[in-house]
Amino acid sequence: MINNPVQGEKSIEGRHPWLLSFDKLRSNRVALFCLYFLAVIYVLVLLAPFLAPYDYRKNFLDKSFQSPTRIHFFTTEGKFLFRPFIYDYQMADRITTRYEEDKTKMYPIRFFVEGNEYKLFGFIPMKTHFFGVEAPARIYLLGADQYGRDVFSRLLMGGQISLSIGLIGCLITFPLGLLVGGISGYYGGIWDTIIMRSSEVLMSVPGLYLILSLRSSFPQNMSSTQVYLMIVVILSFIGWAGFSRVIRGMVLSEREKPYVVAARALGQKDLVIIIRHILPSTLSYCIVAATLSIPGYILGEAALSFIGVGIQDPDTSWGLMLAQAQSHRVLTSFWWILSPGFVIFVVVLAFNFLGDGLRDALDPKMKVIK
């Protein structure tokens, strides 16, 4: 009791600043909702091969552009069935690619069914899929694409690429930008000039032009892993410039503060001062900046794959899936091909709301106009 005079009442002074920020974030319903939403999306995408009913690369040419499968609860006689079922689809009109349900046989939707083999998380060999129907019927929750591949399965698998690029890109850009910005701000002089001039060069080329000219220094035909790495490298190469300029500014103002002078007087090495003492003060900015920069990576990948210089068929990403919608016929007749665009929009929106909420929560010093 003597040690803790404020016990029994909620002490605000005694709480760690991070906890205070977390409280603030929790009171922001929209941001919190976005956080949970993104967490769910990432888990779904991580479990993609299990949740996807089919192999995302497998063609079914007789189901080209099949419309989304309708899920039924009532039989043709009007009887309610507890287990939903579907009908198989048959091509009704070859010219307009219209499909109709073949109502002669019902195919109940079953859970935990055997399907194609895959490796969960890349190493657990499995055959079980979350749901599916008996062959020859195929369940297309979001329709089929040109080659009869399941758009839903491709959307999930494409998410693995589209969503991870942002995270990995941040993991590269931020340490790099911190170090470069830190050195530039701390030492000043010739290093500062070189680094700042080169970041200026990078920033004065409009984004996509720069991306395309960077892309041209790589071979046009590469394996999908190489393409993936290339996209990450390109987007990170562009990303560090703006970020490290801000860090430099922050380090510059931090450099002369008493605690840094004290550390220097104690004989700490420069690099230790930068990393251990100065950079942690930029942490809250980094978290916000990272959250708000992930959409940039998602959109950058989408743009590259859309133009045709990124991820290539039969692999998939959201941008590549949208590329199919470029054809006028597809665009007007098969709306489900646009679904990746909608998913990109929702994910980007969630990241923006979350970043905005984090900024309010983490940085009470920043001017927030309410």
Binding site: R197, G207, Y209, S213, A302, G308, T332, G341, F342
Partner: protein, 311 residues
């Protein structure tokens, strides 16, 4: 500006050099072109020289505005880029005009009626609009054009453009510009509106506003004579930043909606490995960006007498 341009040109030249293969690779696959002819072209295009020789040569020419010849079309690059640059400029200009003329009144209204239902809805919509990928938006616009038939499906000029009267030409261009302008402008509206609202609210708290109100000026006079002119300055600075995003956006929109702009040319040249053309377009896009920034700086000095660039 010049050192940055030098840096950009060096960077893009270096990247082109790192690229495996060259334009002649595609020609080699053509059985109608003999090996001697290819060798001749190698010498003609100076592809047999080391890169630094070619770069210094290119740089010397670029100083006299000669950016080299396109491999593909065999005409000076400047000739190819000129029209395309103009088209990109028109699209960017139209969408800037559009987004400013919508965003500023909206931002002011949202600030004056702060926390009203209008402000909340506008704020939410702005956030949603900011997150709409231009790629997706362009596809949706294309869909609108195809489904309604009210708008041209692609391009910037109608087929009969050359035979139209000057008024007809302007109307034709405007008709073609509507959708690209909307697609590119929406993101700009959202960010500018949020910024305008923020600045306006902040300026309303200034002491001179209180004193203006105290001496009995009408709300209208306070808002538009005192607050507005001070609140708009930061937006002019943002104009420079937004231009980069605008050009990138135009790049995508041009490719989706098949507009004959710089972005489309660059992609085509990239696939044909037409080095000088890619390089020149990248540099031209950067020049456009820098000129925009310069204009923003000049405009800012003109609007805000406190800013002087000479020391």
């Amino acid at each position: 500006m010049i050192p940055v341009l030098l840096g950009i040109s060096f960077l893009s030249f270096l990247l082109m050099e790192l690229a495996p293969g060259d334009y002649l690779d595609t020609l080699r696959l053509n059985p109608q072109i003999s090996a001697e002819q290819i060798d001749k072209m190698r010498v003609q295009f100076a592809l047999d020289r080391p890169w630094y020789v070619r770069y210094s040569h290119w740089l010397g020419n670029a100083a006299t505005l000669n950016f080299g010849e396109s491999f593909q079309y065999r005409v000076p690059v400047t000739q190819l880029i000129g029209d395309r640059l103009f088209n990109t400029f028109i699209v960017a200009f139209a969408s800037t005009l559009f987004s400013w003329s919508i965003a500023i009144p909206l931002g002011v209204l949202a600030a004056i009626y702060k926390d009203s239902i209008f402000d909340r809805i506008a704020g939410f919509l702005a956030f949603a609009a900011l997150s709409l990928p231009e790629l997706f938006l362009a596809l949706l616009a294309l869909w609108v054009a195809l489904a309604t038939g009210l708008f041209p499906v692609g391009g910037l000029y109608g087929v009969d453009y050359d035979y139209l009267s000057p008024v007809g030409k302007a109307l034709d261009l405007l008709h073609h510009l509507i959708l690209p302008t909307l697609v590119l402008g929406i993101g700009g509206i959202a960010s500018l509106m949020r910024l305008m609202r923020g600045n306006f609210i902040e300026t309303m708290r200034a002491e001179y506003v209180t004193s203006a109100k105290a001496k009995g000026l009408s709300d209208f006079a306070v808002y538009f004579k005192h607050v507005f002119r001070n609140a708009i300055n930061p937006l002019i600075t943002v104009f420079g930043y937004s231009l980069s995003g605008l050009l990138s956006g135009a790049f995508l929109v041009e490719n989706v909606m098949s507009l004959p702009g710089l972005g489309r040319l660059t992609v085509e040249a990239f696939f044909a490995k037409d080095y000088y053309l890619v390089m020149a377009s990248v540099i031209m896009a950067s020049v456009l960006l820098m000129v925009g920034n310069l204009l923003a700086d000049i405009l800012l000095a003109a609007v805000d007498p406190r800013i002087r660039y000479d020391k």
